[in-house]
Symmetry: D2
């Protein structure tokens, strides 16, 4: 790892998980950043992010280092994240938090969703929800970004422009049927992540109860989205199939045009002219690809992204680049 | 294979495909049937259904044999199936056709869906759509059953009782988001079935154009169902996630009760009290398992079945049992 | 489950694991046995073997029931198995133990292999190693069978006849390169069984240290077999590739003939005339299929079996059938 | 794609296959090369290497372009490759041929192996077998490199130093049991590549007949290696388990030391001190990782690589870099 004197000094907290591991690789290969430290509360002084040569070592959690850093990515579980965020902010670092701790603006919604009082409600007002393409200026101006969830990113990117242009009403019923690869369930060993329960299987879960539902509702500005997540026997990727009832006289082509124009200059959002996107199109990239179809008068939008990149580490790096004054796309994999 | 003098003599036409292969195994193990012939237009005189010892040999297509048979399962592509069906009926055999040729009552819908004129419109009036639990008496009384498609079976079994009892209106928008294993795409080698395009991938297809849509609409008695199929990287199984807007005052529990009562005595339909069904619960069985949940006021029904059994060969055997006066469940795998 | 007055009363101890679950299904469907009890030390009074309707409930471990039973299958970890075996034998039941506790005749080898003193050395002399096709009479005459390991079964079935007929010398170097599906690693959740570490991966393990090595060496009667196991990203099946240097003048065809004659009348061992066996040929059957090839003068034998059936529960049922005077193949899946 | 005036102009012929596609991506991202043309005999004027935005278009095969190029990668089937190689050499380009056409120095061995007369025997004497770490100077000095096969690379890298230092005798029997992901079988749709025949399956093939055997024997300088390939249900990666009988007094540690020293300065070959390498360690890198173990006196070497990188496109890029005077590791993925 080159240590450039002018490069930004970065730490990743929670480096042994999937998103943290991706961030370590991205930062280590970034021309304008250096990976000053990869930390983990679980580290016992020498875990590696991966077993390959060249991978960084993971240190114990050492908040004393924050004072020397420009930016900190926090990849900790909800509840455990807020204290790390606080320490990093106090030390003067820019923070992108990948947990859910700062995604919901209302602490009472947080409490009912996550089952504990909000650990740092005083920070909620300055946290910016980092759906980058819809919050670029606010991200660049803040010191704390709440990085969006993987499912919400796949659903909000197609829906927000349609609401904004009135092509779809926030009052109408919308179905978001989402399917995610297993890395979304994390690296913890459990019955759910056991190979024998995932391979050659498929299931729905969290119907009506998944914690991403309030996040989707808040940032879409409507409760009328019905969200059901499913677990795919693949490692990486989310595909969301979104059914919308367009406003009078608006057809699939109008919706496609709206999305296509909105994202024409965005390197990480691609609205297809023909064909349907597949997980393989976006795995290991930071892109969200989408297509618009007509099904007997209902408009169906299919969106795909890599849950570890545009759904986590990749979008986080877009945000950190903006916060530190670097080009937004630097070091973010596109193809 | 025992040749019991009292057992029914059965042929499977199209024995080298997935559904035909399953039927050969089921018939060979059936206490009241004998597999008189496994035929294939593709056979060159000695193909095996599978490479294992004990499996039956597959003969060339020999309609002359039909006169000696009690029943014929036809597992041929649409269009190619009707002439086989005609030959078998003329020879006096009971016929279960697993193709789409007799599922649509209106030949003009068939032509617009399948791109060719209906090959035997004179038979449409007597063909019975064999969703067994909803057509038992008609199946027992006919000589020709059109075996339902795999996706329609997973969608109609949960929806029909709700329409009949008025718990869901046929006028309301319904979303049926379905996911199928690769065996639904058949044994033909193609880009779509290449391991490299299926493994670690997931995709939607046929949005607004899938040929099962008119079948679902006709047998549901409504065009208001939006159906989108997807391709899973698994071998067997379909999971359909169905979103319904129940009639005023009807909640998820009422819908669950309705389904639970309707199917209480059915060995092959299981309405769960708790938890959600997974593909693993029903693979290699003829069961359709379902569960009912509430998602912010919308009712979500998750149904699963094995596309090669309840979605094809297993339901076909239920139907043939009924047509030949045998116990409906005989030889049909339940657990 | 029918309770036939004449049927043998059977218990499965360790019913929540893979092999125990298979045994519960096989016994429940067996015409001459009834599943009197499925027990587990891990059960809290109501676990199910699987989530499907019709599956048996699993009770707490209740050795008091053994006195009413004809046979007990013990599917417990090594060390934990011996006390259960003792209790069942004292109660007068026939016992098939699927653990490693009685596979090694020398307690000092057991101690060095498994790291604990042998828990019941007094039983070692009467335990019969149940490689059924090579121990039929001894199995029928004993009250305690040590069911062979999955890897050893795949290696000993091809090798034993070659040693016996002198076609391969026990002094010559033999390589047994084996590959197993993940169910061989058990149902416990761990890093090794996490989907993310198995899917799209492959690895060797236990080189020179795997606990099946002493078992293979003892029952082959030679230390000259080099055994390396590998972990496949599949659920079920073992394939062993065995390299032997045949004695002077013996070619692959002679070796094939020897095996073919030895197993000609065996329903569960199939020596192929042409082609190579694959996992798919034997999954969900109790068969071991094998083929013999020449590679530049070295003879290569490829053998496959289902690790949960011929490698565990299926062979265990062959053995119990023999011990209880039932037909050996009854209830054992062959095709 | 930047077109730097000083960058080397490169074409990839056979760009629609797996290896050609990888090369297009590597060249497009290479700081010292530009992808002047991606060609395919199968192209109909506009195929894409992949469906993602940013990917290059594939043109029809246009040898007239070769005169403007510095280097040509030829990814064509054996027999079809030689004419392309000839045309490119005549036009003055450096050529790395990924087919088997120039790997075997004896045209009669080529003919008996590939079933056709060698298409360009006059070139055999100048073709350099590009196992880069063992042919660096010769590669840098030639205009034609025969890029090694994927299996041979995984076997020769561990064995060659042991032969050279006399730690293993070329006279002794060596077993190389290799397992490859499905991408090694190419993109062609066939029964072998059908998902239903690969997923949840595993098989050996080509025992004693695989075309890589003569390649391994020639470049190892011995016929005493027994090579059996197998097909894994994964997309990428090869693992070879190699059993060697070391010369008198040489143990596993001595062999590990020899390999470790030989490759100490090689960025793309990594000899592990502890643990065993897995496919996941090297997928999407150009590395070959290996470990050495003792199994009852026999030395077992486990080597892994990505069949599309170190086994094809990555090693080809190492070679082209050398031929064009660029740093060998430039643009070659290591971590």
């Amino acid at each position: 790892m080159d240590v450039l004197t002018s490069s930004k000094r970065i730490a990743v907290v929670g480096a042994t998980g999937y998103a943290g591991g991706e961030l370590c690789k991205l930062v280590a290969a970034h021309g304008g950043m250096q990976l000053a430290s990869a930390m983990s509360a679980r580290s016992e002084g020498g875990a590696r992010v991966a077993r390959t040569p060249g991978e960084v070592n993971v240190d114990a959690y050492t908040p004393e280092l924050f004072a020397e850093l420009d930016g900190v990515f926090v990849c900790a579980p909800h509840g455990a994240s807020a204290p790390v965020v606080l320490a990093a902010l106090e030390a003067g670092a820019a923070v992108v938090d990948l947990s859910a701790d700062f995604r919901l603006s209302d602490p009472s919604v947080y409490e009912s969703t996550y089952g504990l009082p909000h650990p740092a409600p005083e920070l909620l007002s300055e946290a910016v929800y980092g759906l980058t393409e819809h919050a670029r200026d606010a991200v660049a101006a803040t010191r704390l970004v709440a990085n969006p969830g993987c499912y919400p990113t796949s659903i909000l990117l197609p829906l927000l422009p349609l609401f904004e242009h009135g092509l779809v009403s926030r009052e109408s019923l919308i179905v978001a049927d989402s399917k995610s690869g297993l890395s979304g369930a994390g690296k913890g060993a459990s019955d759910r992540t056991h190979f024998g329960n995932v391979h050659e299987n498929f299931l729905a879960y969290g119907v009506g109860t998944h914690r991403h539902t309030p996040e989707i509702h808040q940032h879409a500005g409507t409760d009328s989205i019905r969200f059901v997540p499913h677990l795919l026997p693949v490692e990486r990727g989310i595909l969301s199939t979104i059914y919308v009832q367009s406003a009078g006289g608006v057809d699939a082509e109008a919706i496609r045009s709206c999305l296509s124009e909105r994202y024409a200059d965005e390197p990480f959002v691609h609205v297809r002219r023909t064909g349907l996107p597949e997980l393989k199109d976006v795995q290991r990239t930071n892109r969200c690809d989408m297509a618009v179809c007509d099904a007997d008068g209902t408009v169906v939008i299919v969106s795909v992204l890599d849950n570890l990149l545009k759904g986590a580490a990749g979008q986080a790096l877009q945000n950190m680049n903006l916060m530190l004054g670097l080009p937004e796309a630097e070091g973010v994999p596109c193809v």
